[in-house]
Symmetry: C2
């Protein structure tokens, strides 16, 4: 069964919807309502007639409509009965928030849950999750933040607490999300199958995964299926539990076998999955993938107004194997005309601290036209002569005329932070340091190589 | 001559002070006045009687007072004459903002400048710099930001543009600074000598250096002198120009010979200087050094309310060689009493997503008392039940009773960012990710090992 109705349901029942605002069942219902889900919402609660202005039902069986998704947020010992009722009702997806299953030693209960689902042809997300969200359908069926920034990043997480915390963080960082899925115990739906669905989702430009471990025996299938995913969409994973002690902690945390870090590294490499070393790095890369098309080539220039950041970016480019071009004399001559005499037309191209908006724009026009250049790393250090917000606004406008990928690194204080916001809003992935911009372009170039190797559209 | 009068001058002349607010000579004077320098300020300008409410002098020779420091911000061809006058006046330090010396091929002019200074026993900072600052004396003699956050980090930079941009960034990040020195061409005073002075400065807790390259032939002296600095204070360097192309760019940028990255790495290692891989990492580490005393031992625990961040921190601890202890049964039993039954008393100690402020405080009390623990990595994921600001305020208060170093990683949105601010203000170095907290503690433990090897007070 396609997961289409999970992400585009016509109706959602919330079993365990509560009037008590401290209860998870209340928070999920409220988030669903307030984030603006347009389908039908059916609260299910045996002792309420109305919750948050919506008619409540004693049982899912009483709902006089088709129910595509049932969110289940009731005590563990009541979940099987509710699942049975959902099955009889013809529900397609069970999203089981409730914990107290295999992660707490209750393998039996989890097995039975899946059996009930199978019997009725239902699929199960969870149990032991904080919910899921899909911004194109305005679904926020989580007990995380009310709001979610909209964009092309889909995020699957095996850690609930980190997932919820990252909902707040992505909102603050204005990282635009498509799907957000808490994987929990992966009793049925797992990271691989959800990724496979999202690879064909037109709203998802990149898939990010916080992974503690695969289920025993699923490694080979992971590699095979993920290769097919990666041929369509970039996948970035952060693998937690790589250290000996970390893997023990992960085992006690999600009950998954974390396994040797080498095995995972090899599996990711075979699958073409990009492995980030920190959560921050994963989302840095994801930001670039979500805003830019995959580069058409790897010939890159650095354009800067500061020598120091130019050097730092150059070091990073070499570290990450980004080929920095040597501009031809023709290109150099053109560039020389749009910068102060003491600037540098080598790569990094240094417009100097005297650079104004016009210097950047004219240099970009030349680089856009030149066949020698595929990608541009644009750097800016706060100077007295060039207001970062003015530069950001001009670049946001100029971007429309530009076909080549730009990543940017802007260094400075509060107004530079605002400029970074403007650029990210306008499709130029921008970071507060040169290295993070370079690292993000490097991830895109790496994906370009992987995809062409895997036979995807390169 | 000690550099004491450079950082604690009784009077400062600004040669080239201008009434035109666009001129560097105006901005420096204004920053000096507005940041609240308490000594005497003497603007020097042949065609003004008064600037910013201060009496202006036609020449430094006309000033009827001792002048400890002269800031020189006039065209390059007038600098030698001004230096002569300063010498005759008895000025002790020339801070030469003006560019157009060795970095632009004018080695001759720079040599003459140093000769004039030597003749009169003056020392030279620069030329080709954006100035310097020292917050304990309320000196901001730069053309960077007006304000500078006060604290224990001293920062020396060979890149002007990056240095100015980082002034804004450190202010926004509330990184407290002591000295801030633009090194420029290092015609006389260099990174080594200034570090040597700051190693005895009671306001400096850590020295950070953005370095592109040492002067040819000064490598051996760097190692020897820096070892003596490192025995007194931690030194963190970010070395730019480590790549082949980056070193070429650095050479054209500051005129320094960047040299092989291996040689620099070996030199830093011999000198006991900590090498950061990014500017952000350098200041992450510096934040920890500026707020904490050097750890007394390396036995470390992770305390968390989120399994996922606990695992990520554990991985990072192993990567950075931080010894995570196995708590004794006695310690485990004590911890068990202050957490939910489904928590974990192994290391990472997992208070679970149900943790409240009280769980953290009680666990910290136990860890503070235990001989098994030297350092604490405290992690928090935003949960619905525990307000990060409430936690931060309680921890800030509790800190006073705590003798053991804590570094913290807080993950979440806008309120978590505010909690991070509160903690940093109150002496607990706190970062927006678990890995950055771990990396910062690791740098402190590494310094502890280095200092004991170098025979410093360990």
């Amino acid at each position: 069964m396609s997961l289409s109705r999970l992400f585009n349901p016509r109706s959602i029942a919330v079993i365990g919807a509560s009037r008590n605002p401290d209860k998870i069942g209340h928070v999920i219902l409220r988030n669903l309502v307030e984030y603006g889900y347009k389908g039908k919402i059916y609260p299910v609660n045996p002792s309420a007639n109305e919750i948050l202005g919506l008619k409540a039902y004693k049982s899912v069986l009483e709902i006089d409509d088709e129910v595509d998704v049932a969110i289940i947020a009731i005590p563990a010992d009541k979940v099987l009965e509710a699942a049975e009722e959902c099955g009889r009702k013809g529900v397609k997806f069970l999203v089981v928030i409730t914990s107290g299953f295999s992660e707490a030693g209750n393998e039996e209960g989890e097995k039975k849950l899946v059996e009930v689902a199978r019997k009725y042809g239902m699929r199960v997300l969870g149990p032991n999750i904080f919910g899921y969200a899909y911004t194109p359908s305005r679904i926020n069926a989580t007990f995380g933040t009310k709001d979610i920034a909209v964009g092309g990043i889909s995020f699957l997480t095996q850690s609930g607490a980190l997932g919820i915390a990252l909902m707040g963080w992505t909102l603050m960082e204005e990282l635009g999300m498509a799907a957000l899925v808490s994987l929990g115990n992966m009793s049925d739906l797992d990271a691989t199958e959800i990724s496979d669905y999202l690879a064909d989702d037109e709203n998802t430009k990149v898939i990010t995964i916080y992974l503690e471990g695969l289920k025993p025996g699923t490694g080979k299938a992971f590699i095979e299926k993920m290769r097919r995913v990666v041929a369509r969409k970039p996948v970035i994973v952060i693998k937690a539990g790589k250290s000996t002690r970390g893997s023990m902690a992960a085992a006690s945390h999600t009950g998954s076998l974390a396994g040797s870090s080498r095995i995972y590294e090899a599996a990711f490499k075979q699958a073409g999955v990009l492995e980030a070393s920190t959560v921050e790095e994963m989302f840095d890369w994801a930001r670039a993938f979500s805003l830019l098309e995959i580069p058409r080539g790897d010939k890159t220039v650095i354009l800067t107004n500061g020598g120091g950041v130019g050097v730092l970016a150059t070091d990073a480019a070499e570290k990450y194997n980004i080929p920095l071009i040597d501009p031809s004399n023709e290109l150099k001559n053109k560039l020389r005309k749009v910068m102060p005499w003491y600037g540098s037309v080598r790569n990094p191209i240094d417009l100097t601290g005297g650079a104004l908006v016009d210097n950047y724009v004219k240099a970009l026009e030349i680089l856009e036209e030149s066949d020698e250049v595929d990608n541009i790393i644009l750097l800016y250090c706060r100077t007295a002569v060039l207001d970062p917000i003015e530069l950001a606004k001009t670049l946001a406008e100029f971007k429309k005329k530009l076909s080549k990928p730009i990543v940017a690194g802007f260094v400075g204080g509060a107004d530079v932070r605002e400029a970074i916001r403007i650029l990210n809003k306008n499709g130029i992935p921008t970071y507060p340091s040169p290295e993070r911009a370079v690292s993000s372009l490097a991830a895109m170039l790496e994906y370009r190589r992987i995809r062409s190797r895997l036979g995807g559209v390169a």
